[in-house]
Amino acid sequence: MARGGSAEARERFREYAVGAQPHLRRSAYLLCGDWHTAEDLVQTTFGRLFRSWPKVMRADSVDAYARTVLFRAFLDLKKKDRRTVALDDAPEPAARPDDADLRLAVRNALDTLPPRARAVVVLRYWEDLTVEQTADALGVSAGTVKSQTSRAIAMLRQHLGSAVGELIHD
């Protein structure tokens, strides 16, 4: 095992981070919707990973560890910026966007989700985690994940319109 504080361990960390960065960055982008914040989140994640790297690198799955840190960092960030949009305040359902507008529409729809619901959506449908795995990553119960998922799906359907909404399967 490489030493936690050794040059070898640092190289292992750098090697891991270089490989993990693109995926984490994209996940972070889905969570926050802008690249700058996404990179801040990834940097925060890497900082925390490296801080505990001697221990982290002994974990069964560094990827899972990193994912948990990233998603919790996102939720922490959002706790500072409690701008949740109540369902009643949501904009009118959009007409089915054409492909060119789809990206923006999806991002806008994601922006309307409360942070935890957004995290649940990304973990479940982007990271392909099960309900239980999602619950573990976020430190909440499986029931909470299910209810957040249902709520998020409903909000996405409303925002994206029924046509695109059909793409969403609960």
């Binding site: 960065q21 889905l30 900082g47 001697p54 899972a64 999806v106 990271e127 573990d136």
Partner: protein, 324 residues
Amino acid sequence: MRKLLSDAIPAPEDEPHQRDVISAAMAWGERRRRLDWVLTGAATLAVVAVGAGVAVLGTGSGPGTSAASGGADSQKTLGGMLDSKVVNGQPFQSFSPTCMPPPNLPGGQTKKYCDLWQEQVDWSTEFAKGSVPYIQAKLPQGFTVKAANSYVVQLTAPDGKTNLLFPSAGSAANLLGGHTPSCAHPGDDCTQTSAGGGHGVIGQYPSEGQSAEWVADGLKDPVILLGVNVVGTSDVGGLPAPTGGRLLSADDITRIVSNPDYVKYAKESWKHEEEIRKQLLQLQGPSPTDGPTGQPSATGSGMPSGGGTGSSPVNWPPASGSHS
């Protein structure tokens, strides 16, 4: 649904260039880890065992020593504290971590928490900067020491060669576990000193560098720590890599760390740090994010991870299902 999310992300070729977050994160993580270990005493054995080829002195686990990091690991981690190859040739980037207060703070306490948190984050830098006049006062003639906005200061010899110094302090109870500092095998690589009403050791660590600790008799005052990085290690903390071999002798270092004025400064500074930590813990209350499984605390970036909380992420078994 996954396709929908994929559609929300620009194609890879359209993504903006990735900035180098890794070097900055490593610099921050290293700094925090260094502070963690100094604060929690997890480096107890390591600090006692400064010097090359030091056998673990058998003091047992310090208060912050996790089961997963026995004596050997502790010694390794001290290397992490002092070895400067943090940025590994990459330009240093400053990285200001964000205060992330516990979610259940009473109203109006968030600012207080974050002010304290920032003060604690800055403590090691402030200590280093404040150490400069005391170090300068005991340097051989012609040597100078320069502060930076960093936990590292730069030592320059009359010929222009440089070393990087890491001044710090920590709890004697945590770091020494009731033992007076001593070398396992006194010799060229580890020197024991008795000076200024206390005891110290100056050892070789890391690489060809030096690491010193000194504590006043009675072991009630904080331990003064001084690491020295020499040529062969890279830049750290925004300061360029050292260009000289060992510029200071063991006697020089002893004079620095046992300087009564420096000891007084360290004592006051450490007391202040302890007060900050105490207030943070009071505000934080029971750890809100460390679940029963010991999962990593994403909100804990500003807090020492030890202090007997047992929140070591090493115990966390990732649930499963890493992404493919």
